[in-house]
């Protein structure tokens, strides 16, 4: 990291930030910093803005980079008189949507970003509505205005368009997919989201730090535990509190159970999309067993609202630990039987191998995270790269495949499900005794905190900032989906239309986590 920092001139440490190394650079050096970091092979993890008018200043724009051994946050201040900043899209593909989002919701203009079509914000919003600004009243009802969206177009003989969504045929979340096809072949896919935008980031600013952890648990319900953990870790970093050891272990236990339950669900669902419904039903039985054990141990099937700033609000007793262990013992045996059936089924094989390939080059270029990245040759996992207790003790095994197809994404998840079962056993065995929470009161004015947690989809990032009165001034959420959604557009090219549901399922990104 030192070396990287020497390359960037005019860096001053940002003492208000915790949880990552943080520096302020003059605004005109924001993209020079990006360039220097890009040359070092660093990944852009997130880019966002904050409205600093409560501090008597203008705005700030931030870029978080994942460097070897931790994260680096580069901040530039944006004055009220000139609400622009230099775009970094030329260096980082992931910045495209981050910057469209900053432009749409915070109203800052990235200079030299060629695509400023609204993102999350739909075309029927009034042009000047920037909800993340302090001057915007969250209770204000937005009138609908006339507008249109500049879709990418393809023309030529035999080219036709298929528009799908927002309401889909299955029980899934809403989003819009627009294909340009020739015959059955997809030549281009453009995705558009924002349908389930609920104003979550704005809503955070109306809540107390404690209450807000419930909201974090509802950013993407299938990942409720990991989101609450990421939120709480950011708050704890900003507050400088140390969580008791046992709380760390209970948190990790829940994160791994959540990973297992989702992987079980999706391995079955992917098989179902190859028309092998047998495995869907079988895997869904296993998932149900895991959810019931969670209910028994934590009083909620999805383990919502158990992680709070300062620790966890429910301890684990011997009976609960036993229930979990028995379930894992039972599920792991069944799981191995089902995996053999998956492996030996030629009709599944025929559909999943070579389908929806995300190449390692593309995965690196777009900055993909989580199992999507690991299925495309990118070795990354926050549990290993930026470990916190108990992961520093448990050393999770990371599986990486390089074929980037539907099979790779399924197989990586099969291996991760196995690994989670191993970790759950290890956690139950090694869990230390002691208290499970410390009291959390308030944040110091102007402090901010950063965190990254490996949820089942991948790296979840939170960045929280306290205002001059210590309350929430900004809570930035970056679900893995915000970057991984870019991958489906790239992976689908050259595939046939009927394979789209299967490909999409193999990525299974969150709409709610993306739309916020």
């Amino acid at each position: 990291m030192r070396k990287i920092l020497e390359i960037i001139a005019d860096l001053t440490p940002d003492v208000t930030q915790s949880g990552a190394e943080a520096y302020i650079v003059p605004r005109d050096k924001f993209n020079a910093a990006a360039k220097a970091l890009k040359n070092e092979g660093v990944r852009l993890a997130a880019e966002w803005a904050s409205d600093d008018t409560p501090f008597g200043e203008g705005f700030s724009v931030y870029a978080a980079y994942s460097a070897p051994k931790g994260y680096l946050v580069i901040r530039s201040k944006v004055p009220l008189e000139d609400q622009t900043f230099p775009s970094i899209v030329k260096k980082f593909t992931a910045a495209r949507r981050f910057e469209r989002q900053i432009h749409s919701l915070m109203g800052l203009t990235p200079i030299n970003n060629p695509d400023l079509r609204p993102w999350i914000k739909h075309e029927d919003w009034p042009a000047g509505a920037c909800p993340l600004r302090k001057t915007f009243d969250a209770r204000e009802k937005l009138p609908r205005v006339e507008g249109s969206y500049g879709w990418a177009r393809a023309e030529g003989e035999g080219v036709y368009e298929i528009a799908v969504g927002p309401v889909h045929a299955g029980v899934i979340e809403p989003g819009h997919f627009r294909f340009q096809s020739v015959g059955e072949d997809i030549i281009n896919l453009e995705t558009r989201f924002g349908y389930v935008h609920k104003g979550i980031e704005k809503r955070f600013e109306e809540m107390s730090w404690i209450e807000a952890s419930r909201l974090a648990g509802r950013v993407s319900g299938d990942s409720t535990v990991a989101h609450q953990l990421a939120y709480c870790r950011a708050v704890e970093a900003a507050a400088g509190i140390r969580v008791p050891e046992r709380a760390h272990w209970i948190r990790a236990l829940m994160v791994e159970i959540e990973r297992l339950a989702n992987h079980l669900n999706d391995i079955g669902a992917i098989s179902n999309d190859t028309a092998f419904s047998f495995l869907l039903y079988q895997f869904s039985i296993l998932r149900e067993k895991v959810l019931r054990a969670s209910f028994e141990a934590f009083g909620h099937r999805l383990m919502m609202d158990r992680i709070v700033p300062g620790g966890v609000n429910s301890d684990l007793d011997g009976r609960a630990a036993k229930a979990i262990l028995e379930t894992i013992d039972n599920v792991s045996v069944e799981f191995e039987r089902l995996v053999r059936i998956y492996e030996e089924n030629p009709s599944v094989e025929d559909r999943v191998f070579g389908t929806g390939v995300l190449t390692p080059e593309t995965a690196t270029e777009i900055g993909a995270v989580g199992f999507v990245a690991r299925s495309s040759g990118v070795r990354m996992d926050c549990r290993v790269d930026a470990p916190f207790p108990p992961y520093n003790r448990l050393s999770p095994r990371v599986t990486v495949l390089s074929s980037g197809d539907v099979h790779a994404r399924t197989w990586v998840r099969i291996e991760e499900a196995r690994e989670s079962m191993r970790l759950v056993r290890g956690i139950l065995e090694g869990m230390p005794a002691g208290p499970v929470s410390v009291s959390f009161s308030a944040l110091e004015a102007c402090s901010s905190g950063f965190s990254a947690v490996e949820g089942w989809r991948g790296e979840i990032i939170y960045w929280v900032q306290a205002g001059p009165d210590g309350s929430i001034n900004r809570c930035m959420v970056r679900d893995p989906s915000s970057v991984n959604w870019l991958s489906i557009e790239r992976a689908i090219k050259g595939n046939i239309v009927p394979d789209f549901p299967l490909c999409n399922k193999s990525f299974n990104q969150s709409y709610s986590g993306n739309d916020l």
Binding site: P166, V196, K198
Partner: protein, 171 residues
């Protein structure tokens, strides 16, 4: 093939009896259908699901309704891919402003007679997201709702009970 067959035999029947409706928190809001119509449904209904802005946990539990443990089909509850064939619209989430038009259109695409079941605390009153520039709150603010199923998220059995309650008021 042998493996599949022996797995089926080993699994057996895992479907459980449905807990009584009293164990679910349900609010009946609409007038319901005429008795004659519900009698003709014979409790066999086709359901179209729309996520109008949920956090996706409600949707997870709604799809679990169809797993072998809950097996909603045994009660004649069949999930449909299109609103054109649906008797019941199952809606989760607060209604996101960006989904309002799509939700209204889906409702309009359904043939009469039709019922709406709103799933989750968000569907009831907007839940934690409340009402704002981006969230219109309760599903009832956008389309007429017959039954609300409470919970965050409600259990799969609660959702089944809610649907049954919509077609059979005497439950």
């Amino acid at each position: 093939m042998l493996r599949i067959l022996s797995q089926i035999l080993r699994t057996g029947v895992v479907t459980e009896p449905l807990p009584p409706a009293e164990e679910s928190r349900i609010t009946v809001a609409g007038a319901g259908l005429e008795e004659e119509v519900t009698r003709r449904f014979k409790r066999s209904v086709t359901v179209r699901y729309v996520d109008a802005g949920s956090c996706n946990a409600c949707e997870l539990e709604a799809s679990a309704m169809n797993n072998p443990v809950y097996d909603c089909e045994r009660f004649g509850i069949h999930l449909s891919a299109s609103p054109r064939f649906a008797d019941i619209l199952l809606v989760s989430g607060p209604v996101a402003r960006n989904m309002e038009v799509a939700l209204k259109r889906t409702y309009a695409a359904m043939p009469e007679p039709k019922l709406v079941v709103a799933v989750g605390d968000c569907g009831y009153n907007g839940g934690i997201f409340g009402c704002s520039y981006a969230s219109l709150g309760s599903v009832g603010n956008v389309i007429p709702v017959d039954v609300y199923v409470h919970g965050c998220p409600p259990r799969p059995s609660d959702i089944i009970n809610g649907i049954l309650k919509a077609v059979r008021r005497d439950l």
